[in-house]
Amino acid sequence: MVKVAAVNVSVDREEQVAEQLDRIESSLSSLNESPELLCAKDLLLRPIQILDEHQPVCIIDLVAQRVASSASFSSSSSLNNSNFNSNSDLFGMFHFVAHVEIVSVLTGIAPQMGLIFKRDLKKFNAIDELKKQAFHVASSSSSSSSANQEDEGLLVGDCSICLQDLSATGIDLIRLPNCSHAFHLKCILSWLKKSDFCPLCRDLCLQKS
């Protein structure tokens, strides 16, 4: 395993904040130089939701607000130019971890001390992938295409998370890739923050079968 890039920040004193932000930013620009790591930069700048009922924030903002006592990002790669195989899954070669520890808590973030946040990019991307597949029932009267009809045929009933009707128009829906169980997008996203399993069949729904 070759360590490609790492950002480590710990915020103890006010005067250190600017310095640490500089460090992150220089790390980010070094990431820019290697195109295959652009998605890693994305991870640092992408808003993440740390606690329910709060606006998503970026790791870099957390540091700026001195909410995070330490933020670290590392990406390691087992990739060798010699055995590069363009067909293999990107995730087989790279593994990214973002890690933020929140110790001092400012306004805007719930008062939970010592919360540790860890998230795998793999899950990030799987959820992103899932969001792309969201669809909604545009209007009950227009069921023109056969694909639409097929979708609607399976959408009888309620979302088993909120128990509200699935076929209500204009609400984003999702069908999980392996088991095809349908939910409201916002409902399944809030559940997948806690679990990797489909609520109905316990299928590991973020992994491709």
Binding site: D52, S160, I161, C162, L163, Q164, C187, S190, W191, K194, S195, F197, P199, L200, R202
Partner: protein, 157 residues
């Protein structure tokens, strides 16, 4: 409206509609607090709990249905997976195997199933678990029967 509130309200309406459908379960919501529920469940037949009516108390968390409700027996019951003093229930779906697809109604059904099929290998009531594990089915039955009669059946005369 808060997601948990909306969902509980939906369950409340469902319970009103299904009241006749499941005669073994009577779920009721606290008049003033939709996060507090009680249930009356009938002891399953061909078990020492048959003929008894057991009261359950539900405390539903704000995060419901992403987090399971806390359920305990208010009626004393002699069962390996129920704490004899506190009524706490050891059941996987109320802990790590929780899924938001469960409802308060289906949790009641799961508890009835647990009454009929005790798991003596994860006991909260050691006396009860030991009776079953040592193979003293008769001893377990008579103890469970006695407490059902004492606590879960209406007094006669």
């Amino acid at each position: 409206m808060q997601a948990s509130r909306a969902r509980l309200f939906k369950e409340y309406k469902e319970v009103q509609r299904e009241k006749v459908a499941d005669p073994d379960i009577q779920l009721a919501c606290d008049d003033t607090n939709i996060f507090k529920w009680t249930a009356l469940i009938k002891g399953p037949s061909e078990t020492p709990y048959e003929g008894g009516v057991f009261q359950l108390a539900f405390a539903v968390p704000e995060q419901y249905p992403l987090q399971p409700p806390q359920v305990r027996f208010l009626t004393k019951i002699f069962h390996p997976n129920v704490h004899f003093k506190t009524g706490e229930i050891c059941l996987d779906i109320l802990k790590n195997a929780w899924s938001p697809a469960w409802t308060l109604q289906s949790v009641c059904r799961a508890i009835i199933a647990l009454m009929a099929h005790p798991e003596p290998d994860s006991p909260l009531n050691c006396d009860s678990g030991n009776l079953l594990r040592s193979g003293d089915i008769r001893g377990f039955h008579s103890m469970a029967r006695m407490y059902t009669r004492l606590a879960a059946m209406p007094k006669k005369g």
